[in-house]
Amino acid sequence: MNGPIRRIAIGIFTAMGALLLAVTWFQVVRADDLKTDPLNPRPALTERGKERGLIVTTDGTVVARSVEDAGSRDYIREYPEGEAFAHAVGYSSFLVGSSALEATYSSQLRSRRDLTISDIVAVILGRDLRPENLEITIDTGLQLAALEALGDNKGAVIALDPRTGAVLAAVSTPSFDPNLLLGDDAAQQWETLLIDQSRPLIDRGTLEIYAPGSSFKTVVAAAAIDTGTAGPGTTFDDPNEFDLPGSTATISNFGGQACNDGVSVSLLEAFVRSCNTVFADLSIQLGAIDIAITAEALGFNTEIAYEWGIPLAVWPTDDLVGDDAALAQSGIGERNVRATPLHMAMVAAAVANNGVVTNPYMVQRIFDADGQTVETTEVAELGRAMAPETASVLAQMMERVVTEGTGRQAAVPGVRVAGKTGTATGRGDFSNPWFIGFAPVESPTIALAVFIEGSPSSGESATGGSLAAPIASELIEIWIASQS
């Protein structure tokens, strides 16, 4: 009888051996495939349930936090300020992924508990498994005011501290409530936002490039003054139309008239009145390369290390050498010249900062769960874009734009505001109003770019002076009031 039992025993132990082989197959050989199988809900769910760090503004407003659900004991992400910080802070959703700071600082914001035995080892070694937190440079009051001021317009506001590059406000409209992307219906909400014609998910402030229009005259003027090609008092011919060399096409001014008296006009007057004829002429005098030197010092054609990858601002030098017609059009910020609103804010900030360009940033400090600083962002200078004297002269010219020129609506009582308007060619019949500027001129604490994407709601006759400048005025007034 022991014979058959022995044979059955061999059979049973063979079966047990088969179990060991199978479990090795699934838990060792195929473990990673199973773990990352798109059907496996675990990776997303564990990330979803885990605590993420706080994101707080420099004034102490919590803009992202994780709240523990009393029932499931899972952590749920919350964005208390809703749509105001949607593009700056972003979202972290288990269904639709993450964006902006939530994506960039994902590894710092996530709990270091990876839910394995290694957690215990880490605790024994005295490591902190709790997530780290971000302190950002955004001023909540200014941010909310910017969202409010943009109103129904599609557009963006980027405000910087010109001395450091710290982002004081970063708003893109229309915005969306990131809290909508956290629930079980996140995929549907995402779909709705994705097909929305007004493209609320797009960050117009840092991720889209637009023709900067006349606001780019700031760059050309800086190049002219810096190279000694022209000063504020240098006079130019004042035709009704500027004939593009080698072409029958012309460049005219806004309104179709001469800039001054039809005979001659100074650079200052042309800048204050934003005369295209003069800047077309000046661009050809300067040449594509001299403009490129200043533009590139201001960060055009250069990778800027922002909090996330941003598109290049473009001054297409190679296409413009030997093509004066294209150069003339490019000198007034049209044709293929492109920049993000963030970039144009950097241009204004460089003028405000005596010609020195600072690297823009939003996260100023990373701190651990006990409040101890883990990392502080060092202010980084990208270099000098123009001589201090050039910056000083240009600042005075920009102040005149606000006191007596196209940017009068950016004026703030009792504050010396400098700026430059722009009304660039947009899509369809609509033009894109711009305003870039800074204040107070004697000691600037804010530089900003206001961009409006032309649309039926902004109106056909909208200009930088009529639409963007008032927003700048409002924000500068709020900022200066908050600083005193």
Binding site: M1, I5, I12, F13, V23, R30, A31, N40, L115, I117
Partner: protein, 431 residues
């Protein structure tokens, strides 16, 4: 190994259970609480008490059996606790009841010995069949003992006691009774069965008349399958019977005929029952049928893969995503939270229990005791293979519990009695 070493291992495994519960608490942000001490206490009383019973009524029994059982129960309990705290609380009560019943079996057998079971084999058969049939009692008559249909299977009995009601699966005890009957029957007819054999090719077949018990066993299995729709129990009992017949006679023809009948029954049930078809589909293509039949198997495999080598840690994985994790899929839950290391430990512990059981059968001189020990170990081993093999896609899932680990009172009680019987046989053979 001595009884004192065994006692030390029982205490260590009780600590393991309490430590596991505490780790789960930590994972939930809690700490050491009443669950920790309660678990430790219940394990100590259950298995310490069982050892006292063994020391009293079966002192010469092998000291190798109880320790791996406590370890398996501890690992299973920690996952049940992690998945469902309420069920864990009930499981603790069932542990105490099971240990009490196992001790009672040891006490009752201490005077007459296991041979009394052989003498009353026909009574045991009648009781076992009655136990198998009571779930078919009406669900809505006034009598306090009612049948109950759960998930399309009639396996449950409800006993209404006025103040509370108890649910149990009588098949868990009937299994032991049927194995006992078959072992006794074969021991009584062993000579006749052995001698009346003829050679057909490479196989030795018994006389056609001697095939009657095999066909009877097959009949019982079919009845269970048709009436109660319990594929697992049906397969388990049939395989157990065939292996016992082979063990008793050495006639390979039983294995061949048994395999053929099992295949026939399998094909027939696949054609007849759509719940069998669903299980086959889930086995062959779980990921392709993820939204439907395949969901449970796919989740089980995701759990195992996510557990990887070291596991997520108690309370830190997501075995709650697997349907029926605390019963059918407890092995996948262990694999996710304790990793490959935990899975291998569980399989090794089961292999140890099986080898100790077979060792008892091997060394038994008395035919009945040998066959009883072998039969009990067979159904234990087959059960382990059927359910873990089902989770690991070696064969279709049969919806059977993993001994000592799955949540379920009747199975726990039944398996503790099974261990008590093995211990008693071991004691008698050592005397």
């Amino acid at each position: 190994m001595t009884r004192n070493t065994e006692a030390a291992l029982i205490i260590a495994a009780s600590f393991l259970a309490a430590f596991g519960v505490t780790l789960v608490n930590f994972a939930r942000g809690g700490s050491v609480d009443v669950q920790t001490s309660l678990t430790f206490l219940v394990f100590l009383i259950t298995f310490g008490g069982l050892q006292v019973a063994v020391r009293t009524w079966a002192p010469r029994a092998t000291p190798l059996l109880l320790a791996p059982i406590v370890a398996l129960t501890a690992i299973g309990f920690l996952e049940v606790y992690r998945l469902d705290v309420v069920r864990a609380g009930l499981q603790r009560w069932w542990l105490l009841i099971g240990a009490g019943l196992a001790a009672l079996v040891l006490a009752l057998l201490s005077k007459p010995g296991t041979s009394v079971l052989r003498r009353y084999r026909n009574l045991i058969l009648v009781i076992s069949i009655a136990l198998l049939l009571i779930p078919n009692l009406s669900s809505d008559w006034a009598f306090p003992l009612k049948g109950l249909e759960v998930n399309g299977s009639r396996l449950w009995v409800v006993l209404e006691l006025g103040f509370t009601q108890m649910q149990f699966q009588p098949a868990e005890l009937a299994k032991l009774g049927l194995v006992t009957f078959v072992a006794a029957y074969l021991a009584d007819h062993q000579r006749a069965l052995r001698e009346a054999q003829r050679q057909v090719g490479p196989l030795r077949f018994p006389e056609p008349r001697q095939l009657i018990p095999l066909l009877a066993a097959w009949g019982v299995s079919v009845v269970i399958l048709v009436w109660q729709r319990d594929l697992g129990a049906s397969l388990l009992l049939f395989a157990g019977f065939v292996l016992l017949l082979y063990a008793a006679t050495g006639a390979t023809g039983y294995l061949a005929a048994g395999g053929l009948l099992a295949l026939l029954g399998g094909v027939a049930s696949f054609v007849m029952f759509d719940h069998v078809q669903r299980r086959v589909v889930a086995w062959i293509a779980p990921f392709e049928n993820y939204q439907d039949e395949g969901f449970q198997i796919a989740q089980g495999l995701f759990a195992l893969g996510s557990g990887s080598l070291a596991g997520a840690g108690p309370g830190l994985g997501r075995p709650d995503l697997i349907p029926n994790a605390s019963t059918d899929f407890i092995f996948a839950a262990v694999g996710e939270e304790l990793g490959f290391a935990g899975s291998v430990a569980v399989i090794a512990l089961f292999a140890l229990v099986v080898s100790v059981g077979l060792g008892i059968a091997f060394r038994s001189r008395d035919t009945f005791r040998k066959l009883l020990a072998a039969g009990l170990t067979f159904i234990f081993g087959i059960q382990v293979f059927l359910i873990i093999g089902g989770i690991l896609r070696i064969l279709p899932l049969t919806g059977i519990t993993l001994p000592f680990m799955s949540y379920g009172g009747s199975a726990l009680v039944g398996n503790l009695v099974l261990i008590a019987l093995l211990l008693r046989i071991s004691h008698e053979e050592a005397s």
